[in-house]
């Protein structure tokens, strides 16, 4: 029988509680994001809460496990995707009159106090949430988990701290 894998990260209690609670944290962040135009909150708040859930997973399970699932490049691609989505919503306002026009609300106004009521505000919240969440997760990864060095062929590489010689991106 083969040896059990060495468990990285924190102790068993923290890992079990993290397994239970990381999902509800993401759902809570999505809730704050989608009801940003009805109750206090916005896309910024929801995005940061979602990033906090991923930071919790990274802290409890070790960086190798967490980044193996999610990847550093995935965070940067999501951040760029969110920023481009926000800019696209802004440019689509030209379909109305001017830059950033709330074209959905102007064309077919919906009754207020519903989830899909405020036109482009909901879409802007989603785009901002994706962008801010991915950016904050990238900041945490850059500052606390990863070192960036120049590799042998002159290109930049991201290497986890403590495994500089062996592990590569």
């Amino acid at each position: 029988m083969n040896k059990p894998e060495k468990r990285t990260g924190m102790n068993l209690i923290t890992q079990t509680v993290t397994r239970w609670i990381a999902g509800p944290i993401v759902i809570y962040g999505i809730h704050i994001l989608f009801t940003g135009h009805l109750a206090p909150g916005s896309g910024f708040d929801g995005g940061i809460i979602i990033a906090c859930a991923f930071v919790l997973i990274t802290l409890a399970f070790g960086a190798k496990f967490a980044l193996g699932r999610m990847g550093k490049l995935l965070a940067s691609k999501l951040s760029s995707l969110g920023a481009l989505l926000f800019l696209t919503i802004a440019l689509l306002g030209y379909a109305g009159c001017f830059f950033f026009r709330n074209f959905i609300q102007a064309a077919s106004p919906a009754p207020p106090f519903q989830i899909f009521s405020a036109g482009t505000i909901v879409l802007s919240n989603v785009a901002l949430g994706i962008m801010v969440g991915a950016s904050f997760f990238m900041i945490f990864i850059i500052l606390a988990v990863v070192r960036v060095i120049t590799g042998k062929d002159g290109k930049l590489k991201m290497i986890q701290r403590g495994q500089d010689k062996k592990q590569e991106e």
Binding site: A118, F140, I142, K165
Partner: protein
């Protein structure tokens, strides 16, 4: 409400002084986070829940990043104190700023009066009266942030994006030397 704001400000000042003067690094970082939480209480007391949510969440994330990234396992306390002359200069500057701020606070209207009522052509009247009808959003802060002044939000998102790029660019370290060459070079 003013009592809550005053108590929170006193708590923040005490926590900031503790963050400066304590020798243990972990206690210093936690005191900084206590300053942030006191500020969130002040925001709630002034009636700004959106700002309070952002303050609390960013404070938690900053605390995690500070602890994880800066506190290493071999440096746990900071034993170098401040010199006397720099302390004296700091106190003199603080006193001068205090005198100036007394004059400035005396000219402010009391807490809670709407300042923009004095100018009838201010845009805030238009936002408050026609905000729900024009944007369809019940939260007037989100309506202003994402519909009336969405250009400013685009600027803020650009700043966040650029700061992440800057962090990635600045934190590049020099290439590691090979372990075969020892220190006798």
């Amino acid at each position: 409400m003013e009592i809550l704001v005053t108590l929170s400000l006193i708590f923040m000042i005490i926590a900031a002084l503790n963050a400066l003067e304590t020798k243990d690094l972990l206690a210093s970082v936690v005191s900084l986070s206590a300053v942030g939480f006191g500020l969130a209480v002040v925001f709630l007391a002034m009636g700004a829940p959106d700002v309070a949510i952002v303050q609390v969440v960013v404070e938690v994330l900053t605390l995690i990043i500070l602890i994880r990234a800066t506190i290493r396992h071999d440096v746990t306390s900071f034993t170098e104190g401040t010199e006397f002359f720099s302390l004296l200069v700091g106190l003199v500057l603080l006193f001068v700023l205090f005198l100036f701020s007394l004059e400035a606070v005396r000219a402010l209207p009391p807490l809670g009066t709407p300042v923009m009522d004095a100018v009838t052509s201010a845009p805030s009247h238009h936002y408050l009266e026609h905000g729900l009808r024009e944007t369809g959003s019940a939260n007037i802060v989100t309506a202003i942030l994402l519909d009336y002044r969405a250009y400013d939000t685009l600027g803020g998102a650009t700043v966040l994006f650029a700061s992440v790029l800057g962090a990635l660019a600045v934190l590049r370290s020099r290439p590691l030397k090979k372990k075969k060459k020892t220190d006798d070079e």
